[in-house]
């Protein structure tokens, strides 16, 4: 494991045994998250972005389970002499004390749906303070003060009053701010943001991104930013991984991804971004077809049946392996083999 990496995921495989058949949600993911960096994970719905994130905290919805692979975390938690050591999260039992300490203590998460992320029956303050009281040795009053400061920090006015209010009294944007506040309250070393802006309107989205950028500067946490929106990635991420059907097809710096894509899927995604400079009458480029049914993974390269550069007899037979283009830029495409 690299010195600078906070998390390293190795060959992670997650499957969902369902009545209709088994869905291979993650098919061998390799991903590392360096300290203090923002890693963007991009892909269409159902490609396994959220499952990757949830695997780290072991909160995959049932009946999903980790079949194979390691999720290595560099942490001081659970170590005898308060030194940093490496723990394989995938080996921890979901109800073990150590995993519970790591949840929110080291890694916290902001979810896509601010409207349902909070329980309607408990005040926002109760739910935020709960996180702090669970992980830090503080009194209720201290927790309350910290929660007020945090709400203030994420831009909720009149925080001392708002703390006692219930989720239905907040707008979606405000709830997501509170959620981000709750995620940062234990000062975690990593924040997972699972499409945190998708369900908000565009102006709020922009505010939320600004907020995240500020917080990243102030708190110095690593951020795993999951989205299907390349535009958002361009604004916030240092490095990007492109996912397709449970595999990472290309990863590299944001620069690489936007200006020197190797994988045809990445190219299609980038081309599909509408540009103001384009002439008026040009139709939006789309990727033909749609993501195949999870029960019927295509043979060979999973993208071959939608790929504009498909090589018959090659792509539908051989499974591509990642090729290194230097400087951490990798792509799994048979064009280069």
């Amino acid at each position: 494991m690299n010195e600078n990496d906070l998390i390293e995921i190795k060959n992670l495989r997650v499957s969902f045994p369902l009545d209709e058949g088994t869905v291979q949600a993650l098919d061998g993911i390799d991903l590392s998250i360096p300290k203090g960096k923002v890693i963007g994970i991009v892909g269409e719905s159902g490609c396994g972005k959220s499952i990757t994130a949830r695997s780290i905290l072991q909160i995959i919805p049932p009946p999903g389970k980790i079949d194979q692979g390691e999720i290595l975390l560099r942490t001081k938690l659970g170590s005898m002499n308060d030194d940093e050591h490496i723990i394989d999260l995938a080996k921890l039992k979901p109800d073990s004390d150590l995993l519970r300490q790591i949840r929110w203590g080291e890694i916290s998460m902001v979810f896509q749906e601010p409207m349902t992320s909070f329980s309607a029956y408990h005040s926002l303050g109760d739910q935020i303070m709960e996180a702090l009281l669970m992980h830090k040795d503080v009194s209720k009053e201290e927790a309350r003060q910290a929660a007020i400061e945090m709400l203030d920090r994420v831009g909720i006015p009149n925080a001392a009053v708002r703390l006692n209010q219930f989720p239905h009294e907040f707008s979606g944007g405000m709830r997501q701010r509170a959620m981000i506040g709750m995620a940062l309250i234990c000062n975690p070393s990593m924040l997972i943001a699972d499409e945190p802006t998708t369900s908000l309107d565009v102006t709020i989205q922009a505010q939320m991104l600004d907020l995240m950028k500020d917080l990243r500067r102030d708190f110095g946490s690593s951020i795993m930013f999951i989205t299907h929106n390349l535009g958002v990635i361009a604004q916030i991420a240092d490095e990007v991984s492109i996912m397709y059907l449970g595999k990472i097809v290309e990863q590299g710096t944001t620069m690489d991804i936007f200006h020197d894509q190797k994988h045809p899927y990445t190219s299609s995604l980038v081309e599909a971004i509408p540009k103001i400079s384009d002439a008026r009458k040009k139709r939006l480029t789309t990727i033909r077809g749609s993501v195949p049914s999870p029960f019927e993974r295509p043979s060979g390269c999973p993208f071959h049946n939608r790929c504009p550069k498909m090589m018959p007899g090659v792509c539908d037979v051989k499974v591509p392996t990642p090729i290194d283009f230097g400087n951490g830029h990798k792509a799994a495409c048979l064009l280069y083999e």
């Binding site: 040009k282 033909r288 195949p292 504009p308």
Partner: protein, 383 residues
């Protein structure tokens, strides 16, 4: 310029052919009811319930054929008779097919009482699809074919009652009455629920308010005492048939509230739905929107509610008749039959008079299971 900017015509391969096989295609194009069926099939208990209900339906339709005797036919020599045992082997251990012994009265000198004992001297074979007591199917079609029949003797699978009437036959006829009350009652509540709920949801505003308060009000009156009170004021001189219809109407008239709420709720939420909006922009008339788009979208829920309301009807009828406020002889229903086992003495001495109870419980159980399976299936796209 335009030649450069316009994307060259890309040859789009027939994706349907490439990626979808037949089965998958049928999944994507399945109608809602096909999807519901796919989902319903997974509930084993619901399938069993469905099967049981089918049996009940057959019993209801062909009661005359399934019952060896009429509901009022008497076997005067066999009062309060125990269920007869079915035999396959005679006293010498020879296989003789399915048969019964006839029962004779014997004076017991020790107890000074008349005992009913099997006459082992003669074997009475059970004939299937045999001619027996003549009947008129549904009072219309003459016939005398029965599922099973015993020549020159009686067969009482569930024993007999105080007048020597065959309990099994009466239970079969009771099935017809009790289930038909359920059906008619459900139809009445369906019409009322659809109409009142529809008006409430369609007009909204004050009318909606009034209807909603009315529904809340009706629901807060305990059903059974209200049924009892209303059943009690039916004039005593009414004929049993008239009482039958009155009780049915009564049950139907008080159970429409659930359905009305459902219809109203769905109409209101659907008025705002995108697909209704889309249909409206596309120029569909109100009637077409309601008929083509809204009703199919919640028809499944309505069917579920109807299935679920069946048991309440059956239990209502049974209870009312049991306490003597509902149906009366010569109409035969499960409740009427259970009147005979109203106290503990009767059950102690003639436990077989309790047979109709099993039918009540099984039918209610079957309806609940099917209803639950359908409730799950009604939302075919949910997990």
């Amino acid at each position: 310029m335009s030649a450069l900017n316009s994307t060259p015509p890309v040859e789009i391969p027939d994706l349907e052919e490439q990626t979808m096989d037949r089965a998958k295609e049928s999944f994507y194009t399945a109608t809602q009811f096909q999807l519901m069926w796919l989902k319903f099939r997974r509930h084993k208990l619901a399938i069993i319930g469905m099967f049981v209900l089918a049996l009940f339906l057959i019993a209801m339709l062909f009661a005359e054929f399934l019952a060896p005797y009429g509901s009022q036919s008497r076997d005067a020599d066999y009062l309060f008779g125990k269920p007869q045992s079915i035999h396959f082997f005679d006293d010498d251990g020879n296989f003789r097919g399915m048969f019964v012994y006839s029962v004779i009265s014997q004076f017991n000198i020790d107890t000074m009482q008349v005992d009913l004992v099997e006459d082992r001297s003669e074997i009475r074979p059970v004939n299937f699809f045999a001619k027996g007591e003549p009947y008129k199917m549904w009072g219309l079609i003459k016939g005398d074919l029965h599922l099973f029949h015993v020549e020159d003797a009686f067969i009482h699978l569930f024993g007999t009652d105080s007048l020597g009437r065959d309990v099994y036959s009466r239970v079969i006829f009771g099935t017809r009455t009790s289930l038909s009350i359920g059906f008619i009652g459900v139809i009445i509540s369906f019409i009322l629920g659809l109409a009142i709920g529809g008006v409430s949801g369609y007009f909204g505003g004050l009318i909606d308010d009034i209807v909603q308060r009315m529904i809340e009000f009706i629901r807060s009156i305990p059903t059974l005492p209200l049924w009892m009170s209303l059943a009690a004021i039916l004039p005593k001189e009414w004929s049993p048939l008239r009482v039958y219809f009155a009780v049915t109407v009564l049950l139907g008239f008080l159970s429409w509230t659930t359905l009305a709420r459902r219809v109203r709720g769905k109409l209101i939420s659907m008025r705002e739905e995108d697909f209704v909006f889309a249909a409206r922009i596309a120029g569909s008339s109100d009637a077409r929107i309601i008929w083509r788009h809204m009703i199919p979208a919640f028809l499944s829920y309505i069917i579920v509610d109807l299935t679920v309301s069946f048991p309440a009807m059956i239990l209502g009828e049974t209870t009312l008749s049991f306490i003597g406020l509902g149906l009366r002889e010569p109409v035969v229903s499960w409740g009427v039959l259970l009147q005979a086992s109203q106290n503990i003495k009767a059950i102690e001495q003639h436990p077989w008079l309790f047979f109709p109870a099993i039918f009540v419980v099984i039918s209610v159980l079957a309806f609940s299971l099917v209803g639950d399976g359908m409730r799950d299936a009604a939302d075919p796209y949910s997990h």
